[in-house]
């Protein structure tokens, strides 16, 4: 019974990224480019959801995304003899360290203060990098010489999406689910009950941030050009938040579908008028908040429940 649940929940974690990857192989280059963007946002928002599940709304996704991008690019500059494949992994301990420090400082803050603190850290990084690039290198932006081909990018991002899915899956294992529910619902009581809440919060925050950072590293490798306004763009954090809310925290499919939808929509609408996308973004958030509390994943869970119920009925009727 237990192994059945385990397997069932793990199927989409591996299956969905695999399907996306296989599908992308037969796409036209322009759709492959959109798929890269979609996978970037899926990875970012699935990690965001894990933080959200603990009751924390982060507006700092861009901080870790950008940090991952910059650390990767600096590594390729400072150690030209290292292969890029190593440069993309080396940011892991650095981002983990940053996340632990940031987590330790911000995860004691409640609600709105946490939102501001995460938003401020992304903005601070943007200003620091802008300032240092203008003053020390004389120009803004960094270029790497050998960009990652699209297919390899898609592959790496799909693997990373599996890791993000695994992290999400961890939060549904009874032990962690209960602890996370406790932390979100009543942290004071959780502490009295003996849960080392800070330890769990920082652990999940750090792993989620590392995944966001790795998304940034891979994105930088693919784009071959980064600048502070691009990778620390507050719009990234906002879109991740919107996708997260749209997707809901019930299962991994929610934010994956929401990422696909928003990325596709933004590609289509930006061609017409960039403001139109923002308007649609705003309206969809309002609609979801009003009519679909659990987001897409809540909707999927409900459909699934009804489907199972009907199955049971027909079995009983036989």
């Amino acid at each position: 019974m237990a192994s059945k649940i385990l397997n069932q929940a793990l199927i989409p974690v591996f299956l969905v990224p695999t399907i996306v990857f296989l599908a992308s192989l037969v796409m036209s280059p322009s759709y492959q480019r959109i798929t890269v963007l979609f996978l970037i946002y899926a990875g970012l928002s699935l990690s965001w959801i894990v933080i959200f599940k603990m009751g924390y709304v982060s507006l700092g996704s861009a901080a870790f995304y950008g940090a991952g991008a910059y650390i990767f690019v600096y590594l390729t500059k400072w150690y030209p003899s290292l292969p890029y494949s190593l440069d993309v992994l080396l940011p892991i301990p650095i981002i983990a360290f940053i996340a632990i420090v940031v987590g330790y400082a911000t995860m004691r803050l409640a609600g709105i203060f946490f939102i501001f603190a995460t938003f401020a850290s992304a903005e601070a990084l943007r200003q620091i990098f802008l300032y240092s690039e203008i003053n020390y290198t004389g120009f803004v932006g960094k270029v790497i010489t050998k960009p990652l081909p699209t297919i390899e990018t898609l592959g790496l991002l799909c693997i990373l999406l599996m890791f993000a899915g695994l992290l999400f899956y961890t939060t549904t294992i009874p032990k962690f689910r209960i602890v996370i529910d406790y932390i979100r619902e009543d942290e004071e009581l959780a502490k009295v009950a003996g849960v080392n809440t800070l330890k769990y919060k920082i652990a999940f925050f750090t792993i989620a941030s590392v995944i966001q950072g790795l998304v940034g590293s891979i994105a930088a490798w693919y784009l071959a050009y980064i600048d502070p306004d691009l990778v620390f763009n507050p719009m990234i954090s906002i879109q991740v938040l919107v996708i997260g809310l749209l997707g809901g925290s019930g299962n991994i499919l929610g934010s994956i579908i929401a990422s696909g939808l928003l990325v596709y929509l933004s590609e289509q609408l930006i061609r017409i008028a960039s403001q139109l996308y923002l308007i649609v973004l705003g309206i969809s958030v309002i609609l979801v908040a009003k009519f679909m509390k659990g987001g897409f994943s809540g909707f999927i869970d409900k459909v699934w429940e009804v489907w199972e119920l009907r199955n049971r009925k027909t079995e009983g009727g036989r």
């Binding site: 009874p174 602890v179 009581l189 009295v192 009950a193 003996g194």
Partner: protein
């Protein structure tokens, strides 16, 4: 048992010995070790568990999930199944309701669940803050009867109560009584002696 009127410092004292409040001027010694600066999660692993008064369960989690958390935070290397079945033996009503969310339990059942969650962490010393508060006499009786059984398993219990009447009703299970008033313990001894003390008579009997 610790007895003291409103605002005497009972809750503060229990929080202090369970790691919820860090004392500035004194130490909490457990088996010769200073545990006063440890976080609650560590103190629990050393065997001291507090069941707070008031809201003590997570209303949206089921009975069994609430108990599981007790198991997770407790000592390592114990058989969780065994503990759970012992707890269900002690509170059969919780077994009946184990898939029900805690928020829909009656007040008495909620209290039992809170105590059970404390027990799930396999404490050496179980601290209970005003376990009779807001409960009907019948329920208080069944809860105090469970204390008798818990004591038999070798777990020590420290209870705080505002009134003296519960202590008088269950005097046979109480080994030692402390009286606290204005943040200070003024008495330690047997319940019969406490009854005749002047302080106590003034507070509780108005003479």
């Amino acid at each position: 048992m610790i007895i003291g009127p409103n605002g005497a410092g009972k809750t503060t004292f229990l929080k202090m010995i369970s790691g919820g409040i860090k004392p500035a001027l004194c130490k909490v010694i457990l088996d010769g070790e200073d545990v006063s600066q440890l976080p609650t999660s560590e103190v629990i692993k050393k065997g001291v568990v507090l069941v707070p008064s008031g809201k003590a369960n997570f209303p949206e989690l089921t009975v069994e999930e609430n108990l599981r958390l007790g198991l997770y935070v407790g000592k390592k290397g114990v058989s969780r199944k065994e503990i759970l079945s012992e707890i269900y033996d002690l509170f059969p009503v919780l077994k009946e309701r184990r898939t029900q969310v805690a928020g829909t339990l009656s007040g008495g059942e909620q209290k039992m669940l809170a105590i059970a969650r404390g027990l799930a962490a396999t404490p050496k010393i179980l601290l209970l803050d005003e376990p009779s508060f807001g409960l009907a006499p019948k329920v208080v009786e069944s809860i105090y009867n469970s204390f008798r059984k818990i004591k038999e398993t070798g777990t020590s219990i420290i209870i705080s109560e505002q009134g003296i009447s519960t202590a008088l009703d269950f005097r046979e299970i109480i080994d030692q009584v402390y009286f606290i008033i204005n943040h200070e313990f003024t008495f330690r001894g047997k319940i019969d002696e406490l009854e005749s003390m002047e302080d106590v008579r003034r507070v509780y009997f108005g003479v």
